[in-house]
């Protein structure tokens, strides 16, 4: 009598060890696991294996001696950062920029996604989406160049406006202290809102149409439907994105701030990463750069954990990252 080729009898499964059960399930989905091999290898090779190099944060790294041969200096590299009398300013500038960017740029893609979603005109929807995420592909250097050329107080569009209005005394808004954060954040919003909205648009496409029809029948307005149906649907996505953004509050990249920096706005534009770039990488102080990076990462992980804990508490463990 032939045995059933498919699933083993439940009683047979119950007799197996956890490892055997795992192996059975693994073999059943071997194609999916095979697909995971390459990204897993990438993660291990490029994210975990290099972690041993973090020890140079506690060493006076000299390339000739190598990582293992360089001398241990303990916390000296961390002390170098705090010995600079302006370190509170660097930390505050980084936080201020990051928080401003968070409050300004976080809601915008959500609003854009909702706006695109409620639009019934298919062509307009597609055009709006495509046009909104195209700036994402402009390189940062080009984007800053365009921005500064436009805002040039003599030769740019702003200069032309000044002349038409008869303005004689002006500040150079491109480099002024007062305008640095606004230019930094809102240019980032313009460049990134379309791309960031893609995730929310795709989440919104999972909203069942029947819910909207039922709500219409109950007399709900469009805005009411957005508030009661669309937003709760994408709320888990919003929470996850917010937790991840909070985890990188101190990790503002140096490139944009560096490009927009000038002697006039140094007090607000010098952030941790530009300081590390100027004093670390450019001067071949790899240990110093690693120490500050490690410090940043520890703070980021701590913040990520705290925000995740708060989210879990508030949502009864439904919306946290873990």
């Amino acid at each position: 009598m032939a045995k059933s080729p498919a699933v083993a009898a439940p009683s047979a499964l119950l007799k197996k060890t956890p490892w055997q059960k795992f192996w059975i399930r693994f073999k059943k989905n071997w194609q999916l696991h095979l697909m995971m091999v390459v990204p897993l290898a990438y993660l291990i090779l490029f994210s975990y294996v290099p972690m041993y190099g973090l020890q140079i944060a506690f060493k006076d790294y000299r390339a000739r001696a190598g990582i293992w041969g360089s001398e241990w200096v303990g916390l000296e590299n961390f002390a170098t950062f705090f010995a600079n009398y302006k370190w509170p300013m660097y930390v505050w500038n980084t936080l201020a920029l990051s928080l401003y960017a968070l409050f300004a740029s976080f809601p915008v893609p959500i609003i854009l996604a909702l706006t695109i979603h409620v639009n019934t005109h298919k062509v307009l929807k597609k055009v709006a989406q495509n046009v909104s995420y195209m700036p994402h592909f402009i390189s940062l250097v080009v984007m800053i160049g365009i921005l500064f050329s436009t805002l040039h107080p003599v030769a740019g569009m702003l200069g032309a406006i000044y002349r038409i209005l008869g303005v004689e005394s002006y500040i150079d808004v491109r480099y002024a202290k007062e305008s640095f954060r606004h230019l930094y954040v809102w240019s980032g919003v313009w460049q990134g809102m379309g791309w960031s909205s893609i995730l929310y648009v795709s989440a919104l496409s999972g909203v069942p149409e029947e819910l909207h029809e039922a709500a219409k029948l109950d007399g709900a307005s469009r805005l009411r439907r957005v508030w009661a149906i669309d937003i709760p649907t994408i709320l888990p996505t919003i929470c996850i994105m917010l937790i991840m953004r909070c985890g990188s509050l101190l990790s503002v990249g140096y490139q944009k701030a560096y490009l927009m920096q000038s002697p006039v706005n140094k007090d607000v534009s010098e952030i941790i990463s530009t300081y590390v770039y100027n004093n670390g990488l450019k001067k071949n102080q790899m240990s110093f750069g690693s120490a500050v990076g490690l410090m940043n990462s520890l703070i980021s992980v701590t913040m990520l954990t705290i925000v995740n804990w708060i989210t879990n508490k508030l949502s009864d463990h439904e919306m946290g990252l873990w």
Binding site: A63, T80, H152
Partner: protein
């Protein structure tokens, strides 16, 4: 059909992944001809079409009987960072790094870490006794003896001191081949230009002191000097510090006393130093600049602008001149050939001038990845660039095509007959004649030796730059007898003062901007004293003590004697 197409696409994409793989030696020039090969790391220059099929390369290969290969770096000012990354990743460097600015601190670090070859034994046959090695470095020592022809014997001694000082480390090692320029235009940190057309229109004389300079700027601002009916005149404009050294602030502060902010210290004449950013005349200079800024006489873009912006304003593509007085290197504008520029003439200095007797750049190195047997060839190549023909080829390109020996009797502004005649300057053109439009070595003074194509434009340039040179020389006559050339510390001193230096230099730079833009008031004694007290808090005394020790070592070794 779909399956076949999908499989085909997957195959093509997989194969293309391996396209980057290949024999790294494949296609190397000169493979198998038995000649030694030197690899040269060089920044990409958009105007150079090919480094391999290049007139300068071919000439050097012929002179040195070797093959030259190139590793091109792109990224402008980030090349030093790329080198740092290469070093940190323990990847090999090219044999020679050419036209790459690492900065003094990195040069010392790389030298001490063993990445750069100590060239002292090539410059000196007896390193201890400092006996010139005229066999290995004939052109270097020959050029070192030529300064008196242009500047007199007394200045020659100062120049020689400066070149040796700048090229040598504290421990006597030499990690880069110094490239020094003879052209007076390159010797100046700033050149000041005033709009003669505007002066004539307003009936004003050339300014001769601070007060008349101030009044002239006010007149430029108050009147429609360019006659276009729009109030767009910019009285004074200049770069804070451009890549060629022009520094508007230095020029203005030197109206009140000798000041070189780049070295941070001023020699008191008795072996002690005073910080340049605490000197009384520095404060006077700040008061004046602040006044110009507040009254709109100095354009705010001076604080933030770049060379490219200056070109746009000083030589507008359309419309009349916009600027009354501008401070900048002649090269910024004279490559333009814009007729608006001819409205400007050299303005005299009535103060002192930052004493930059020669431009000594340390941007050429031999790395320790260069095989021992090839180092002598590499050094000879670098020394060739200081020969007359080598320097002319480096800067002006191919003889017979870009330049030739002058055979006429016409004289230069100095009264000497021209030595060479330029046919077509390859700078800023698409060319295979030179390697770089940045590192341009010239064999001697352009103004004295090189007849340019005889257009009105070049006639104007030579006349004005010669006038600038004479103004600068006159200003240098007013300088103190001896000036502090800049710091040079031992490794221990670097470490001891590292934090204090960094804090103080950051503070003085930001404070300078704040005093100029009015955030702080240089006229306010309380604020000025608070600024001085803050510097003391940040460790100025420690830095001063170490700088004086270093300076006294130099004086004991005969510098400036």
């Amino acid at each position: 059909m779909k399956k076949i197409l999908t499989l085909l696409l997957a195959l093509v994409m997989t194969v293309s992944l391996f396209a980057a793989c290949g024999d790294k030696d494949a296609g190397n020039k000169g493979e198998g001809n038995g000649k030694p090969t030197l690899t040269i790391g060089i920044p990409a220059d958009a105007n150079v079409m090919s480094y391999d099929d290049n007139a300068l390369t071919n000439w050097l290969e012929e002179q040195l009987d070797c093959n030259l290969e190139f590793m091109i770096y792109s990224g402008g000012s980030d090349i030093a960072t790329q080198i740092s990354t290469t070093v940190a990743a323990r990847q090999p460097l090219p044999d020679v790094l050419w036209d790459i600015s690492l900065g003094a601190a990195l040069i010392t670090q790389y030298g001490e870490d063993g990445y750069l070859v100590d060239l002292a034994p090539y410059f000196y046959s007896d390193v201890e006794a400092k006996t010139p090695n005229t066999e290995m470095a004939p052109n270097f020592w020959e050029k070192m003896d030529m300064w008196d022809a242009y500047y007199g014997e007394e200045m020659e001694a100062k120049f020689q001191d400066e070149v040796i000082y700048r090229m040598t480390e504290e421990d006597g090692a030499i990690y880069s081949y110094p490239v020094f320029g003879f052209t007076p235009t390159d010797s100046m940190v700033y050149q000041v230009w005033i709009n003669q057309t505007w002066l004539d229109k307003l009936g004003l004389p050339m300014p001769t002191d601070v007060d008349s300079f101030y009044e002239t700027l006010k007149a430029f601002k108050a009147n429609d000097c360019n006659g276009n009916g729009i109030h767009d005149e910019i009285p004074l404009y200049g770069n804070r510090l451009d890549s060629l050294g022009a520094d508007t602030y230095s020029y203005l502060i030197n109206m009140f006393g000798y000041w070189d902010g780049g070295t941070y210290w001023l020699d008191n004449g008795d072996g002690t130093l005073q910080n340049a950013y605490t000197a009384d005349h520095y404060r006077e200079g700040l008061k004046f600049i602040n006044k110009l800024y507040k009254e709109g006489l100095m354009n705010p873009l001076t604080v933030t602008g770049s060379s490219s912006e200056m070109k746009r304003l000083v030589t507008p593509a359309t419309g009349p001149a916009l600027v009354g007085v501008w401070v900048g290197h002649a090269t910024i504008a004279t490559t333009m050939g814009n007729d608006t520029l001819k409205e400007y003439v050299a303005m005299p200095y009535w103060g002192t001038a930052v004493e930059k007797r020669c431009s000594v750049t340390r941007e050429v190195y031999i790395t320790t990845d260069c095989p021992e047997e090839n180092r002598e060839i590499a050094f000879k190549m670098l020394d060739l660039f200081l020969s007359d023909e080598g320097a002319m080829r480096c800067r002006y390109g191919e003889p017979g095509v870009n330049w030739k020996d002058y055979e006429g009797t016409e004289t230069s502004p100095s009264g000497e007959v021209w030595k060479w005649e330029i046919i077509e300057d390859p700078l800023s053109l698409q060319t295979n004649a030179i390697w770089s439009s940045a590192l341009c070595i010239t064999p001697c003074s352009e103004l004295i030796s090189m007849k340019q194509p005889g257009t009105d434009w070049y006639k104007y340039k030579i006349e004005q730059v010669w006038a600038q040179y004479q103004n600068y020389q006159a200003a240098m006559e007013r300088n103190p007898d001896r000036v502090y050339p800049g710091p040079r510390y031992t490794t221990e001193e670097e470490e001891r003062t590292g934090v204090a230096r960094e804090n103080c230099t950051t503070y003085v730079k930001t404070s300078m901007t704040e005093f100029i833009t009015g955030i702080l008031d240089p006229n306010n004694d309380a604020q000025w004293n608070a600024y001085l007290n803050k510097l003391d808090e940040l460790g100025l005394a420690t830095w001063q003590e170490v700088s004086e020790a270093s300076w006294n070592r130099l004086l004991d070794a005969g510098f400036g004697a």
